[in-house]
């Protein structure tokens, strides 16, 4: 059974101008030890897909119109908030973009880590080695030190006494990763985990996440807009456009032989080695308004290959491993 299996997920968000159909039939299967990169421009629904898995989309304004989010076979959409709380932090870990706003500035790092460990221990005593009462607190502290050490924070026992402001951005993101992994989650949702960080720190954090995947036997959904990050740290990639996954598959197959015109356009917009000045191709236009989305393929208005058939209906995903939703796929120039 797949660790995470999102089936035909439809989400609409109410707004003053009407309901926006922001997820339009998402299908995504993540197995253990797979790192899935979710890429696309701003407003394509990447983050909402991630938030849906941890059921953090507020309802209302959000409303799930159809679909299932199967986590080890059980539909998360049928779970109550209380039941979801039992999963978050223990079975499903989360890391968000901005390490400065996700730690409470008024509490020591140690307190915050120990709280998460204790709460995880209440759900699953194995996390703290079966310790109870005072022993549990001691075990939680030991676990916090071990996790900080694992994510590469020097002198972890002493740093437990420090407050978030005493850590740099990269170190705070490490603390958040330690916090996300302390409950030994099966699935990690990382939403732009390195966007706010310098490249040298980014490389370390990505290596760290990759290393944890095998150690914890996890599945990861990594949301990013940086295809370089995907190439360096993911095993699979799903390209999203306006609420749909338009291309997905093993990372090397997709990035070296992109079939969907949108994936190709994204790749051609990156200033890679050997691109001479002026030769970079931008992608004209912007993500469509999802309150009144264009008919058929939502990428058609920006697509150089679009024909009448593209506007007639939403193309189905075809293919087995490397899949794409395009009537005129191909990795050649037009």
């Amino acid at each position: 059974m797949a660790l995470l299996d999102i089936r035909d997920l439809h989400l609409s968000m109410r707004s003053f101008d009407g309901a926006a159909h922001v997820l339009n039939g998402i299908n995504l299967t993540v197995n253990r030890r797979e790192v899935w990169g979710l890429v696309g421009e701003t407003g394509c629904g990447k983050s909402l897909t991630g938030l849906s898995v941890s059921r953090l989309v507020p309802e209302p304004p959000g409303k799930y119109l159809a679909g299932q989010i199967l986590f080890e076979g059980e539909d998360l959409l049928q779970r109550s908030e209380v039941q979801m709380q039992a999963l978050r932090g223990t079975r499903i870990g989360m890391i968000f973009q901005d390490p400065t706003t996700n730690l409470n500035p008024a509490f020591r790092i140690g307190t915050q880590l120990v709280d998460v460990a204790l709460s995880a221990g209440r759900r699953d005593p194995a996390v703290l080695g079966g310790a109870r009462g005072r022993g549990a607190r001691r075990a939680a502290e030991a676990l916090a030190v071990a996790m900080l050490d694992k994510v590469g924070i020097p002198d972890p026992a002493a740093r437990l006494q420090d407050y978030p402001h005493q850590f740099s951005g990269g170190m705070r993101q490490r603390v958040l990763i330690a916090m996300a992994l302390i409950g030994r989650p099966d699935l990690l949702i990382a939403d732009e985990p390195t966007t706010a960080l310098d490249v040298s720190v980014q490389a370390q954090i990505l290596r760290l996440i990759r290393g944890m995947v095998d150690e914890f036997d996890m599945g990861v959904v990594m949301i990013t807009h940086n295809l370089g990050v995907v190439a360096q740290s993911c095993t699979h990639v799903a390209v999203m456009y306006a609420g749909n996954i338009v291309e997905s598959g093993p990372v090397r197959a997709v990035l070296t032989g992109p079939q969907h015109p949108y994936t190709r356009a994204l790749l051609q917009a990156i200033p890679t080695r050997g691109v001479v000045r002026g030769a970079l191709k931008g992608l004209a236009g912007s993500v469509p308004n999802l309150i009144t989305p264009p008919p058929g393929c939502r990428f058609a208005p920006r697509c150089t290959r679009a024909q009448a058939a593209c506007r007639a209906g939403l193309p189905e995903m075809t293919g087995t491993q490397h899949r794409t939703a395009c009537l005129f796929p191909g990795d050649r120039d037009d």
Binding site: Q202, N226, G228, P271, G282
Partner: protein
């Protein structure tokens, strides 16, 4: 065009409720020169002193020691009036187009504001200002029909085009680009980078391009410098720096670049 000679900037320490803070050396002995018509890239991680250097160049901040000369004039010795006239020649585009446009001003007011400030230098009457604003919008690929719109009606890429039009309004010789594309999607970044390249050829502009994205610097810049903790650690032709980096820091940064490449 601009010569920076042995510039050091030290922010004094402070004594406050929570004890003393030692002085911070934000720039130490920085020297570099940008030639007319070139794109010079300045690369550094957060806290390296990039922003302090731009603030010193714009004379929003006075260096503790050292000299910055623009077109042969030392900013420190200019009279306030002469400094103001000089400022028309050097403009800046900021990182976040969502924060750097006043939401209560129309595009017309945003783009004509520098012309108003520098009217002594430019000598444009209100009608000529409006005409120039329309021309500028055309130049950055937006078109004059947007003159009476407000910032919230535009996407990130379009806003950055408005910021570029505003920077070009007083007819500058040099534009400081402070991470102009880091808040944009790659698809939009490519368009903005191409626009900047195009404007440089057409108007003969000199760019000082500040970024932490080495891929962007490699694409845009003729020469570049790497700054680390307030010191320039490497400087040279962009291609040479990428192909034969001489400092450990440059090698580390280049190897940490997330490239779409498989080996």
């Amino acid at each position: 065009m601009i010569e920076i000679e042995n510039v050091t900037k030290i922010y004094p320490g402070r004594r406050g409720m929570f004890g003393e803070q030692p002085p911070v050396t934000a720039l130490s002995d920085v020297s570099l020169s940008v030639r007319p018509g070139e794109s010079f890239g300045l690369v550094g991680e957060s806290g390296s002193g990039k922003t302090t250097l731009t603030r010193c160049i714009l004379r929003l901040e006075a260096p503790t020691s050292g000299r910055i000369r623009f077109d042969g004039h030392d900013f420190a010795t200019l009279s306030p009036a002469a400094l103001r006239a000089m400022r028309a020649r050097i403009q800046i585009v900021f990182q976040d187009p969502f924060a750097s446009l006043n939401p209560r001003m129309s595009v017309h007011d945003i783009v004509t504001e520098p012309m108003l400030i520098h009217r002594a230098t430019l000598g444009l009457n209100p009608r000529a200002q409006t005409e120039r604003a329309a021309e500028l919008l055309d130049l950055v690929g937006l078109g004059p029909q947007y003159l009476h719109r407000y910032p919230h009606e535009f996407s990130g890429g379009q806003r950055q085009r408005i910021c570029i039009a505003r920077a070009l309004a007083p007819n500058p010789a040099m534009v400081l680009l402070d991470e102009p594309t880091s808040a944009l999607d790659v698809s939009v970044q490519a368009q903005v980078l191409n626009l900047l390249g195009d404007l440089q050829t057409r108007l003969g502009l000199t760019y000082l391009f500040i970024s932490h994205d080495l891929g962007v610097i490699r694409y845009v810049c003729d020469r570049m410098a790497l700054i680390l903790r307030g010191r320039i650690v490497e400087q040279g032709e962009t291609q040479a720096v990428f192909e034969t980096p001489s400092s450990d820091y440059a090698r580390m940064l280049i190897s940490a670049m997330p490239e779409v490449a498989f080996d």
